[in-house]
């Protein structure tokens, strides 16, 4: 008997944090313009000791104005999707649940596009207008997960297979709506189809939007973390959890709202990147066990690492052009999904 302690969670997180740091440094180095590790280290040290003025200007542009913001965005998008996937899997008692598979990402995408359409028709002050897209994505995500949840309910209980089918159908329906809107109402000028349907991190974001994504991540992930031990019990079913003192309704509301916020924010800046929320939680469970007090923070780091790697591959393997990052994650994730599905049916 060796029960989980805060120290052990912190240790694993520090380890993953170190891995994330190394991955970020490598990602900073790789790209169309090669940067030597030595030059990179010197630049980072200068930033660390606040001597940014001594940086060569081309370095500053490439590393700190182009690559670093994109990498940081990848970090928070990955962490958000992974934490959302972890909590969906526990709450819906379905190891195949993930914001993308359940259609929540598509719902967020549709919400974001509708918000952009509305934004172009409403003459809003720019401070409000910037918030409209993330808000639309959040509402779209929340509406979708609520709809899919009710689609998956049979006689008061969540039926795993119905839920999954409901999610897949919802995802394809919403994706079709997105394509339709992009072609007719919006015109393709807003974002490319690939951005919304496959996920893409190449769009430069306004600093305020990046801050909203970071702040939203910490807020929502913290909210989900407060339910960590409740989620452990929910794995055994809602009825049993209730007998062990879990306020199931409260947990459901907290997790649906927070996970929708995570998905909505991630999708509003990166489109629908698939399978991160599916693959990473399973990898972390395999590495560190299924206790959510450990799983949620490690999944956040794992998601960040995965998306930074995927995005680095997306912008380097076919350089000088780019792949959508969602293509990379789907290449890795779809076979894994099939593996999980087969194992569950076996």
């Amino acid at each position: 008997m060796r029960s989980l302690t805060l120290g052990r969670v912190a240790m694993r997180c520090a380890l993953l944090g170190a891995v994330l740091f190394v991955v970020i440094v490598i990602a900073l180095k790789l790209g169309a313009v090669p940067v030597s590790l030595y030059a990179l280290a010197r630049a980072l040290v200068r930033v660390a000791i606040y001597q940014t003025s001594e940086l060569p200007s081309d370095y500053r542009l490439i590393i700190f104005d182009i690559r670093l913001p994109r990498i940081l965005l990848a970090v928070f998008v990955g962490a958000s999707l992974s934490v959302a996937g972890t909590s969906f899997q526990a709450l819906l008692r379905n190891p195949l649940a993930d914001p993308y598979v359940l259609g929540v990402s598509s719902g967020a995408g549709l919400g974001a596009i509708l918000a952009q359409v509305a934004e172009s028709h409403l003459a809003l002050p720019s401070a409000v207008a910037v918030l409209l897209t993330p808000l639309g994505a959040f509402v779209g995500a929340l509406a979708t997960i609520v709809a899919v949840y009710f689609l998956g309910r049979r006689e008061g209980l969540v039926d795993s297979n119905t839920l999954l089918l409901g999610g897949v159908i919802t995802a394809s329906f919403l994706s079709a709506l997105i394509m339709f809107l992009l072609d007719t109402v919006v015109g393709r000028d807003l974002h490319g189809t690939a951005f919304w349907l496959m996920g893409d991190l190449s769009t430069t974001q306004q600093p305020i939007v990046s801050w909203i994504v970071r702040f939203g991540f910490f807020l929502a992930a913290a909210a989900i973390y407060t339910t960590a031990s409740d989620l452990n019990l929910l794995l055994a079913g809602e009825k049993e959890a209730m007998h062990l003192g879990v306020d199931v309704r409260r947990v459901r509301i907290v997790v649906y709202v927070a996970a929708s916020l995570l998905t909505g924010l991630a999708v509003s800046v990166s489109g629908a990147i698939g399978y991160v929320g599916l693959l990473v939680p399973h990898a972390m469970r395999w590495l560190f066990g299924s206790d959510h007090r450990m799983l949620i923070p490690t999944a956040a780091f794992g998601g960040a690492i995965a998306v930074v790697i995927a995005d680095t591959l997306a912008r380097t393997v076919v350089a000088p052009t780019e792949l959508p990052v969602g293509a990379i994650s789907a290449l890795a994730g779809a076979p894994f999904f099939i593996y999980l599905l087969r194992r569950r049916l076996a």
């Binding site: 008997m1 989980l4 190891p95 973390y225 055994a236 299924s290």
Partner: protein, 286 residues
């Protein structure tokens, strides 16, 4: 409210409970289940009453769909009665907050299915959840309680085993240990013997008998095992189609005509050497 009765759960446990006092009081409880409020209910439970003291085992018997599990859920407080009330130490169970309820009432259900497997000791530690706050990590005290709970059901050796790699009987013991880790006043069991072989069934009931008298639990058990109940229960409530026909000692309730009418089978009832009745099925009615 919870603090008033049993501050922190642990402190109050050490106080001896007077054996004469009634702990569980089911008072004229009724319930109606209908999927649609405008329709006539599919199932009704008519006013049911019985009382139980600390250390007593009450068995609820009856054929399928007689309302046994409904009574158990009403006692557990997860269903609100249509009329009447269930009092546990003076508090109506369904009005207790979820956490306070889980500190007083533990439910052992028919096999629980795990999505991701855990080890037996981790599973038992879940029983400490009603006493933990958000972001709580188990204390040494919690670990001691979990270890004791496993010891009480004779399953210390299973501590490090995975829950999906032990036998049905062993799993049932670990599930019972988790209920004990809740340190409840009331232990509810819904057909706990369902998937157990006869030896494991006797072990379980023997264990419950011992635990009830040692820890002063009040135990309510729903089961089909007439003879096991006859040997181990202090009181029996016999139910049929939503009505509680009779409550009393096994010897008082086990009347041949009554049981035959309720279970629709030819039976013989004899008094065993211990003074406990014994039921034998003679043949099935066509």
């Amino acid at each position: 409210m919870s603090g008033m009765v049993r501050a922190g759960g642990l402190a109050a446990r050490s106080e001896p409970t007077r054996a004469s006092e009634v702990r569980l009081s089911v008072e004229q409880v009724s319930y109606a289940y209908s999927p649609n409020p405008s329709q006539a209910p599919l199932f009704t439970l008519e006013a049911t009453s019985f009382q139980a003291k600390p250390g007593e085992i009450v068995a609820i018997l009856g054929p399928n769909a007689s309302g046994k599990s409904t009574v158990l859920k009403l006692i557990a407080g997860v269903l609100a009665p249509l009329s009447g009330r269930v009092l546990l130490d003076g508090f109506a169970t369904h009005t207790l907050p979820v956490r306070a309820r889980a500190q007083r009432i533990a439910m052992v259900q028919q096999e629980s299915q795990l999505l991701f497997p855990s080890r037996a000791w981790e599973f038992v530690l879940q029983g400490r959840h009603p006493y933990s706050r958000a972001l709580h990590f188990e204390s040494d005290n919690d670990l001691i309680i979990a270890r004791n709970a496993l010891a009480q059901v004779g399953a210390e050796h299973l501590s490090d085993r995975w829950m999906d790699q032990i036998s049905g009987g062993e799993r049932q013991r670990v599930i019972l240990a988790r209920a004990l880790a809740q340190q409840p006043l009331l232990l509810l069991l819904d057909e706990p013997t369902l998937h157990l072989d006869i030896g494991a069934q006797v072990d379980l009931l023997e264990g419950l008998r011992r635990l009830a008298s040692e820890n002063r639990y009040t135990v309510v058990i729903v089961t089909h095992e007439l003879n096991l109940v006859a040997d181990y229960a202090d009181q029996v409530a016999l139910m049929q189609r939503g009505r509680c026909l009779r409550v009393g000692t096994p010897a008082a309730v086990y009347q041949r005509e009554l049981l035959e009418q309720v279970f629709q089978a030819q039976l013989s009832v004899e008094l065993g050497a211990s003074g406990r009745p014994r039921v034998t099925v003679l043949s099935q009615t066509p």
